[in-house]
Symmetry: C2
Subunit: 230 residues, 2 copies
């Protein structure tokens, strides 16, 4: 940038998108100011379509006019660019382990959870719930091996706290919608205690929506899908 | 490690696995010596199962007894840990763009290519081939925007060169098996020229197998699947 020009930082998001929440928590954690732009995914803006022509999805971070897409890429970019406490661990091995589990969340937990939300039969929902539980069991094990027992990031919030924490409103939404508790004292005691603590952190309080908002959005999506199938 | 102990670096791989090739090219690029252990995926070793209990897949890099799994995680770990030329770009924005496209290769190109290999009908193969071409069209565009036109990594080999280059023997194998040219002067002139140049680099020559080996392995897998369906 030319000297004297102002830094410009905009985030295209959706208030209940776990991936957008991840990016927003990273920015909040670093204490960075930015302009937040809520997208309507039923009518995507020209800015979203031109900034993320490949996936056409939120979040997109636009830094001095240059877009960065994909939530984990954004979190790492924010971590590398801005001062403040580290999001990724400083040690290369711990960083590798954090990256491994973050990829696991996106590759295994996310599709299972989406499957629960979109299932059209009880049988299908049961199957996807099983996959969700299995993924969270693996993450329970990961939690016991990473960090210091308080959070994935040790004493402070870290990469995996953001990577998994962005789903917390949706886990509560699952209970409200289908009466299932995917993180709980019985199945995942460590994650259940972590979720409680993470919910009390400043970034979570500042950024995460009420679970009721997730439920309302899920119902809007269901109605939309039903209208397409008519 | 205690002083006096020797560094130990082992890689569990498979000679034709694109993901294992990616990790091996990263190690070759850094000029790091390691013990290579070829896995038999029909009879996975105890070492593989215990080192990667979550996915049970190659590659696994075992550094001083501690496993690192997932090829892109391994490449970044190798880049951060060992001296020598950088694999990821030094600039945070360029790094973000490289990470975006590497994720794209794994999320879009890889499943499309696997679909071509595993298709059991011509219709299904045609569908997956279309997806492969579409993904490579996007990567052609990415290539024109990244690097300096010679390679994704600019003057030297970089993250995306390894991320995509590991598939080159398999693209030739597709031609040998099904008569299709997914990277070629007609559809993807920039990638076609890049593939030629990349094939001439030291890491590619040192690590990539002959396409005939990929074809032989694909036929072995086909025979295995056929025997399971009997």
């Amino acid at each position: 940038m030319a000297a004297g020009e102002e830094e410009s930082l905009r985030l295209l998001g959706l208030h209940v998108s776990p991936f957008a929440l991840r990016a927003r928590m990273a920015l909040a954690f670093k204490g960075v100011s930015y302009e937040y732009i809520e997208e309507d995914l039923f009518h995507k803006s020209e800015l979203l379509l031109s900034s993320n022509p490949v996936h056409k999805k939120v979040p997109v971070l636009i830094h001095n006019g240059r877009p960065v897409c994909e939530s984990l890429v954004i979190v790492q970019y924010v971590d590398e660019l801005f001062a403040g406490p580290n999001i990724l661990p400083a040690d290369p091995y711990e960083r590798a382990i954090a990256r491994f589990w973050a990829a696991y969340i996106d590759d295994k937990l996310f599709p299972a959870w989406v499957g629960v939300m979109r299932a059209t039969t009880e049988e299908d929902r049961g199957e996807k719930l099983k996959e969700t539980y299995a993924a969270l069991q693996n993450l329970e094990k990961a939690f016991s091996e990473c960090g210091n027992g308080k959070s994935f990031g040790g004493d402070s919030v870290g990469y995996l706290d953001l990577a998994l924490g962005c789903f917390l409103p949706w886990f509560v939404a699952l209970r409200m919608m289908f009466g299932v508790e995917v993180i709980g004292a019985a199945n995942t005691p460590l994650l259940a205690a972590w979720a409680e603590r993470f919910g009390e952190t400043t970034v979570a309080k500042e950024v995460l929506p009420e679970p009721g908002e997730a439920v309302a959005y899920a119902k809007k999506l269901q109605a939309h899908r039903a209208s397409l199938n008519k």
